[in-house]
């Protein structure tokens, strides 16, 4: 028996089935390792959504995922594979932290926006550089963004431990930012901060930009067919740089949010990884800004619930990595899901081309 579906449903069904299948595989692994599957998944659920505190924490984790997910998705829309979201995030965190602790005597409603803008700008510049290199020389953004990641992460480490080091701190970190640079909490007592609201706003902004403006039309056209874009008189180079700058800006905002809303400083031990998970999130959302929200939330829920799952079922927290890895695999190879569930696709719809060869 073959399941034949209307074309639109497949876009929703395949990702959904990928997630479910991955969870099933996770369950099998849990069972094989001798642990209690029910306890494990109950713990996962409760850890992510079981209380007001848990939900707030999940949203806290969702915030950087939304922004970096949008960043990568936006790059994909222009035919660019931005692996540099991580480095752009660090750049944003660095800039926001500096503005946060170095500028004194400014009222809240000026200091905070400046810090946020600094974070966006830093990420934007860090993203624009590989965009410019691609436009000028054809150098592939995959290679350059990976290298830029290394540069920024090491640079951050150096700066935090040296010129930006707080001499009075017991661990290597920047000074705490001033209260006038804080992103306020949404609900006092919980860690959820206004960065979450900014992330939601970013979703709608990016959606509007991509689908309702001239600029978005150009960016998408360049991403779908460079030859036609050229024929239409669009400036390919300009769009590459712009797309990478916006992408970098979003990732920079993610970094700024973590510093200004959560940690209030930038420690040398700053742990991220958001920029890399963002690739999976963007793929799962099929580069659709609106779909980035559930996709990001899923990832955050898995991360957040993993802790409680580990405690309740006595299994390694790495199991979550396995589940996530399977989701990524199924998204990258939807044929597998199709084959398992016997879903036939009569006409292959044109997808978004992720990357093409080395340089042009």
């Amino acid at each position: 028996m073959q399941i034949k579906l209307k074309a639109g449903y497949q876009d929703l069904l395949i990702p959904l089935l990928s997630i479910i299948t991955s969870l099933i595989i996770g369950a099998v692994i849990i069972w094989a390792s001798g642990a209690n599957v029910y306890a494990a998944y109950k713990g996962l659920w409760q850890g992510a959504f079981g209380s007001a505190r848990a939900i707030a924490e999940t949203f806290v984790g969702t915030t950087p995922y939304i922004l970096t997910g949008l960043a990568v998705a936006f790059g994909f829309r222009c035919g660019l594979f931005n692996i540099g979201a991580e480095g752009q995030l660090y750049a944003g965190a660095l800039a926001a932290a500096y503005i946060g602790y170095a500028l004194h005597g400014l009222p809240h409603f000026i200091h905070l926006p400046i810090a946020i803008i600094a974070g966006i700008a830093a990420g934007g510049i860090w993203g624009a550089i590989p965009g410019y290199l691609k436009a000028k020389t054809g150098a592939h953004e995959v290679i350059n963004t990976i290298m830029m990641n290394h540069i920024m992460i090491r640079l951050t480490d150096f700066l935090v431990k040296n010129p930006m080091l707080d001499p009075k701190a017991s661990v290597p970190r920047t000074p705490y930012i001033l209260k006038t640079a804080y992103l306020p909490k949404i609900i006092p007592g919980l860690r959820l901060h206004w960065g979450f609201i900014l992330a939601i706003l970013a979703i709608f902004l990016i959606y509007f930009l991509l689908f309702k403006t001239k600029t978005g039309f150009e960016i998408r056209t360049v991403g779908l067919n460079q030859d036609a874009a050229q024929y239409a008189g669009m400036n390919i180079s300009k769009n590459f740089v712009l797309a990478m700058a916006i992408s970098g800006g979003l990732a920079g905002l993610a970094g700024a949010g973590e510093v200004l809303g959560l940690n209030y400083n930038l420690p040398a031990a700053f742990v991220s990884g958001f920029g890399f998970d963002a690739i999976a999130i963007a793929l799962l959302a099929k580069s659709n800004p609106l779909a980035v929200f559930p996709s990001a939330m899923l990832w955050a829920a898995l991360r957040n619930g993993a802790g409680l799952m580990q405690i309740r079922a006595q299994i390694s927290i790495d199991l979550i990595n396995i589940v996530q890895a399977f989701v990524i695999m199924f998204i990258a190879a939807p044929r597998i899901v199709r084959w398992v569930y016997r879903i036939k696709a009569e006409k292959e719809k044109a997808g978004i081309l992720l990357t093409k060869g080395w340089g042009k």
Binding site: K6, A7, K212, T213, K214, T215, F217, T221, L224, N225, D227, A228, A229, Q230, Y231, A232, G233, E346, K347, K349, A350
Partner: protein
């Protein structure tokens, strides 16, 4: 019947919203060249895809040599002796002829591919049908006509006795088409049966033993070429009288619009392909540039439309000189361009029709207001264009990729002719299109000229050049070897000029 090698009976197939095949019957005799004729969207490709196992029919049966056959995949089809040569080749350019032919069907010796056996089998087959193929040549170094022969040999290597050829001459020069027909005749003499899918009435009449016409998913009838002619076939295909010869008013020539002086253009590999070309196109004139593909026309048009920079010389539109390499500059000077490759330059296939219709104009008011796109206006204007230019599709949000070639080209034409222009550059505008669409596009080109605009028509179809042009320039090796008026030109004269033979004309 005894000599019936293939019978399709009552084949029906529908896709969401479209009945592609409606109870079609088709019979192929052994050693017969049977043409399948029809407009784009008539159902020919669907029918052949069913035969080749790419689709399963909703109803109907297939009989091979009188026995009921079940075909679930191309592998099934091949194992039952059916081979297909697609319009767009499925070859790997960086591999050799031999590697391409044996791909998926390698003969092995001790776990390693038996190269000698493969080579010798290919050489034997190649000699038998006079294909002149060298197994060790790389496919990307071969001319298109030879690449096509590799595709055909792929099917013969798998011992296909039924060959389906989908629009085989659409990529060939007239010379290569002649060679292909000779090959088809020798295949027929060897007992192969051939299904020839085509739009081109003249060729179908020349090569076929039998012709079946499809229209709107239904079979309209089968005729023998000796009993029919072009007008009758066109009538069967379209369902009404088709004007095969374009009627135009007398030319009312006005001021010069496009002036090209001593233009030199280098192609992307650094070779000079346009050598000091000069010509002028006036208002109310159709200037037809005739030539075999590969003589610099493609690069000339790209230079004129800003897709390629030019080395030296002048291009001016209404007296304004072009700086070059800037499509928007050309657009702003009132030039419309129907590109040679509509899927590459002309359209963004994943976009809805609406977005393709605003592809060039999106940045100007009233299509956009400040930063945003003005969707109410865009929607209204797109709906009007769809109706005016007869684009057959469910709506403006239909994905362009799903349209037939003819409707895709109409989308391009609609976009280009929707605004006030001074110059239309049409490059191979009816390539790959069916009779109905060709008639439509030709009508639009003549309308443009009759409205007092200038038209540059670049085409390798001599019939098209002869029926549309007021002035004809023949391009050979990047230069115009001769310019003539339409009443001086004959097919023979042009044929000689296109081959570079200038002397006695």
């Amino acid at each position: 019947m005894a000599d019936e090698i293939l019978l399709l009976k009552g084949i029906s197939k529908s896709f969401p919203g479209v009945l592609a095949n409606d109870s079609i019957d088709f019979a192929l005799k052994k050693s017969e060249i049977h043409s399948l004729l029809g407009e784009n969207g008539a159902g020919k490709t669907t029918l052949m895809n069913i035969l080749y196992g790419l689709y399963t029919p909703d109803a109907g049966e297939i009989f091979i040599n009188g026995k009921k056959a079940v075909i679930h995949s191309p592998a099934d089809a091949l194992s039952q002796g059916i081979g297909m040569v697609h319009q767009h080749f499925m070859l790997i350019p960086t591999m050799t002829v031999c590697e391409n032919i044996i791909l998926g069907n390698e003969s092995k010796k001790n776990g390693l591919i038996n190269v000698e056996e493969s080579h010798s089998r290919i050489e034997t087959l190649s000699k038998r049908y006079s294909f002149n193929l060298n197994p060790t040549d790389l496919v990307k170094d071969l001319p298109i006509g030879t690449q096509q022969r590799v595709e055909i040999l792929k099917a013969l290597y798998r011992e296909a006795s039924i060959l389906i050829l989908d629009e085989p001459t659409s990529v060939l020069t007239p010379q290569e088409s002649k060679e292909l027909f000779n090959i088809l005749r020798s295949l027929k003499a060897e007992g192969k049966s051939i299904i020839f899918i085509s739009h081109k009435l003249k060729e179908v009449l020349e090569i076929s033993d039998n012709i079946t016409v499809l229209r709107d998913g239904k079979g309209v009838g089968s005729v023998s070429p000796s009993n029919t002619d072009e007008p009758q076939l066109a009538r069967m295909m379209v369902g009404r009288e088709v004007i095969l010869k374009v009627s135009k008013q007398k030319m009312q020539r006005g001021k010069p619009v496009l002036q090209v002086k001593n233009l030199n253009v280098y192609d992307r590999r650094g070779v000079r392909v346009v050598n000091g070309i000069s010509f002028t196109v006036h208002e109310g004139e159709i200037f037809g540039m005739a030539g075999v593909q590969g003589n610099g026309q493609t690069e000339l048009v790209e230079a004129l439309t800003g897709l390629l920079s030019f080395e030296s010389g002048e291009i001016s539109i209404d007296g304004t000189g072009l700086r070059g390499n800037n499509p928007r500059e050309v657009f702003e000077l009132g030039t419309a361009h129907i590109p040679e490759d509509r899927q590459k330059h002309g359209l963004v296939l994943p976009y809805p029709i609406r977005d393709n219709l605003i592809l060039c104009s999106y940045y100007k008011a009233p299509f956009s207001k400040r930063l945003s796109l003005n969707f109410p206006y865009i929607t209204e204007s797109s709906n009007k264009l769809m109706e005016e230019f007869d684009i057959k599709a469910p709506g403006i949000l239909t994905t362009t990729e799903t349209l037939s070639g003819g409707n895709q080209q109409k989308t391009v034409v609609a976009r280009e002719l929707a605004r006030e222009i001074r110059l239309l550059i049409a490059s191979q505008p009816t390539r790959g299109l069916d009779v109905g669409s060709i008639e439509y596009i030709h009508k639009k080109i003549v309308e443009t000229r009759d409205s007092g605009h200038a038209v540059l028509l670049v085409s390798s179809e001599l019939d098209e050049i002869l029926s549309l042009s007021d002035t004809i320039g023949v391009i050979y090796k990047g230069q115009i070897v001769k310019t003539l008026s339409y009443y001086e030109a004959t097919k023979d004269k042009l044929g000689l000029l296109m081959a570079g033979i200038v002397s006695e004309t």
